[in-house]
């Protein structure tokens, strides 16, 4: 027997929308069985995971806060992936953005007088650092044909070790008993809070703005058109006179800049100092978010919120139901796998054909 895939000629929007929901239902069902097997109430677990975080203003802010870096990075990656360029080093670009942007904050710590320029400079430096770091694999690709998948991945670890070194060494707080962290940033170097309770910071607005800008650029500009054409049909793009080289560099710059901006926004917003590690893997999770969101800005926003929701729900499950963290992780992995699979099913018609395999 063999399994045949053929692209659906007339994809129904209903099917497109239904597929991830179906995957979600299946994942929840499997999760529920596991929870029941562990002797807890599946209904209570469902409420803790998916309802409670949405029912309080505070936890809603936290969901938004967690989703913001994911959405911002994934939006940048969408440009790459649509153009068939594979930047999987966003984690490194995020870290470098946070490091170099944060460096400004450390260097200007305690500065007197007008310090209004500090935060904009940090954001700019963080973004530029992300762009510069992303251009390494991009240039290696266009000059030498080196696979960007592998170089961008390798550079993640180099960036992490660089931050580790800086936070433990040169940028360490001299008054901090040799503990590996920088001074806490001045207020002038922090993103302002948006609401009472000092939780939601302006980084969320940056992410939101990025989603809107990306949607407009992709739909309405020549650059967006180019990205889409190259992704859909490289040959056609070449006939149209689009330059591969320029596009590769451009999409890498966009994604690196977005990741770098997300990095400095996280440092200037939530963390407020440099530490040996500033990311719980946002750059990698964002790759999944980009695909869950089908590389569309709005889809990415939704996917980022869902991922954030399960993380925060998972914490609630640890507190209220004493369910282990590993269960949440396994559930997240399963959910992602199922959504990716269901997505394929909505794109292709699957037929089981008697005969030999292909």
């Amino acid at each position: 027997m063999r399994i045949d895939l053929s692209p659906r000629t007339n994809r129904s929007p209903l099917m497109d929308g239904l597929a991830p929901i179906l995957a979600f239902v299946v994942a929840v069902a499997i999760g529920g069985i596991v929870v029941a097997a562990m002797g807890r109430s599946p209904a209570a677990a469902f409420v803790t995971y998916f309802v409670t975080p949405l029912s309080e203003v505070w936890s809603l802010q936290e969901v938004a806060l967690k989703a913001a870096p994911l959405a911002l990075i994934a939006i940048g990656l969408a440009f790459c992936f649509r153009a068939n360029v594979w930047n999987i080093g966003a984690e490194g670009q995020f870290v470098v953005g946070g490091l170099f942007g944060g460096w400004i904050a450390v260097a200007t710590h305690g500065a007197e007088g007008n310090t209004l320029w500090v935060l904009p400079l940090m954001l700019a430096v963080g973004t530029l650092a992300g762009i510069a770091y992303a251009l390494i694999p991009a240039l290696l690709k266009v000059w030498l044909g080196v696979s960007e998948i592998l170089t961008s991945l390798m550079l993640v670890y180099v960036a992490e070790l660089l931050l580790d070194y800086m936070a433990r060494g040169p940028l360490r707080d001299p008054a901090g008993y040799n503990f590996p962290q920088s001074v806490t940033f001045d207020d002038a170097a922090r993103l302002p809070y948006l609401m009472e309770g000092d939780t939601l910071h302006a980084g969320v607005l940056i992410a939101l703005a990025a989603v809107i800008v990306a949607a407009i650029v992709l739909a309405r500009t020549l650059f967006g058109f180019e990205v889409r054409v190259v992704g859909a049909s490289p040959r056609a793009a070449r006939f149209a006179g689009f330059s591969d080289v320029r596009l590769t560099l451009a999409v890498f710059a966009v994604s690196g800049g977005a990741a770098g901006l997300a990095g400095i926004a996280e440092v200037a917003g939530k963390i407020g100092q440099l530490q040996p590690s500033i990311s719980p893997g946002y750059g990698f999770t964002a790759i999944i978010v980009a695909f869950l969101g089908r590389l569309s800005p709005v889809g990415i926003l939704v996917a980022a919120l869902v991922i954030a929701l399960t993380t925060i729900g998972g914490e609630g499950a640890q507190i209220d139901l004493k369910l282990p963290l590993d269960l949440t992780r396994a559930f997240q992995g399963l959910l992602l796998a199922l959504v990716l699979g269901a997505d394929a099913l909505s794109r292709y018609r699957v037929r089981f054909v008697p005969g030999t395999a292909t």
């Binding site: 594979w86 080196v146 592998l150 070194y165 590993d326 997240q332 395999a357």
Partner: protein, 308 residues
């Protein structure tokens, strides 16, 4: 440094290289077929947990090793269904497997925390193992190490000396043409993915059964990612994977030895070395064949669907 100390260092390097080598060899076959599996770390850690659990329950290291490989294989089957059968994106699917593997390993291993087993037995041939200077290095390793070297030879032979191996490499280089020629692209890829998963699981089991015989969460500590780097560093060739594993394992071990001998080196820079070396190797390889483009399997990471 006496001969015996030198031997100790070499034995340590070989042991440190073995998990990298086994996992990387599996991934090499996967990538040669044109699939990029970023779930190696997840498959490895699940293999470590399952291998240890089964070994404790059955009292058999062999059963543990088989179970570890089986666990990696099972997770890679899911990966194969997603990427090969359903043509989902390989990068996203691989990352999902890593998250899933880490979570599952914690659940599987939870009740085995704090338990200890004897490590896998080492070969002991009277007369040979006691040879000064080389005995332990060549005749005193555990079965995983020999299995690792056997894999090198086996995979090299398979890929370059058999029709099936030729087909696998051809598929990795151009799935469209090979499909047109009637080769079973998806079947070969699926099998390659299963093999890679089993190798990753076995490498994980090596850690929990032989190298540091206990289970602890996330005990692979990023070795799956190093294995991925290693495949590239080795430019998709088994013998070079072996050499690269010795180099990557050796760098860490030698750095630790240098410190113990009183020669300090900055830790972060050294830890970054495998990755920088890999990038450098990629660049040099590309410079070497400027005209021929990349040495990577040309279809690596690309989705294949047999459209008609």
């Amino acid at each position: 440094m006496t001969l015996d100390v030198l031997q100790m260092v070499l034995v340590t390097i070989v042991a440190a290289a073995t998990p990298l080598m086994i996992a990387a060899l599996g991934e090499l076959v996967v990538e040669r077929s044109g699939v990029l599996n970023l779930g190696v770390e997840g498959m490895m850690v699940l293999g470590a947990a399952t291998g240890f659990a089964v070994a404790v329950e059955t009292g058999s290291t062999l059963a543990g090793a088989v179970a570890g490989a089986g666990a990696g294989l099972a997770l890679s089957a899911l990966f194969g269904i997603l990427t090969v059968v359903l043509a989902a994106n390989q990068i996203a699917s691989g990352l999902a497997m890593t998250i899933l593997g880490l979570g599952l390993s914690g659940l599987v291993g939870a009740s085995y925390v704090g338990m200890k087993r004897e490590s896998a037995p080492h070969l002991a041939i009277p007369g040979l193992t006691d040879l000064p200077g080389i005995g332990r290095l060549f005749f005193g390793q555990d079965a995983f190490v020999y299995a690792g070297f056997a894999l090198v030879a086996g995979i090299a032979w398979f890929l370059w000396r058999t029709r099936a191996g030729l087909a696998l490499r051809a598929i990795g280089d151009d799935h469209t043409s090979t499909h047109a020629l009637g080769l079973k692209v998806r079947k070969v890829r699926f099998l390659a993915v299963l093999f890679g998963g089993a190798c990753a699981g076995l490498a994980g089991a090596y850690l929990s059964l032989a190298y540091t015989p206990f289970w602890a969460p996330a005990m692979t500590a990023g070795r799956g990612w190093i294995a991925l780097a290693l495949v590239v560093f080795a430019s998709w060739r088994p013998l070079r994977v072996m050499a690269g594993a010795m180099l990557f394992g050796g760098a860490t071990v030698l750095q630790l030895h240098a410190q113990a001998a009183g020669l300090g080196l900055p830790g972060q820079a050294l830890s970054a070395l495998p990755y920088l070396a890999t990038i450098l190797a990629l660049v040099l390889l590309s410079l070497g064949r400027r005209q021929g483009g990349s040495v990577a399997p040309a279809s690596l990471g690309r989705v294949f669907t047999p459209f008609r």
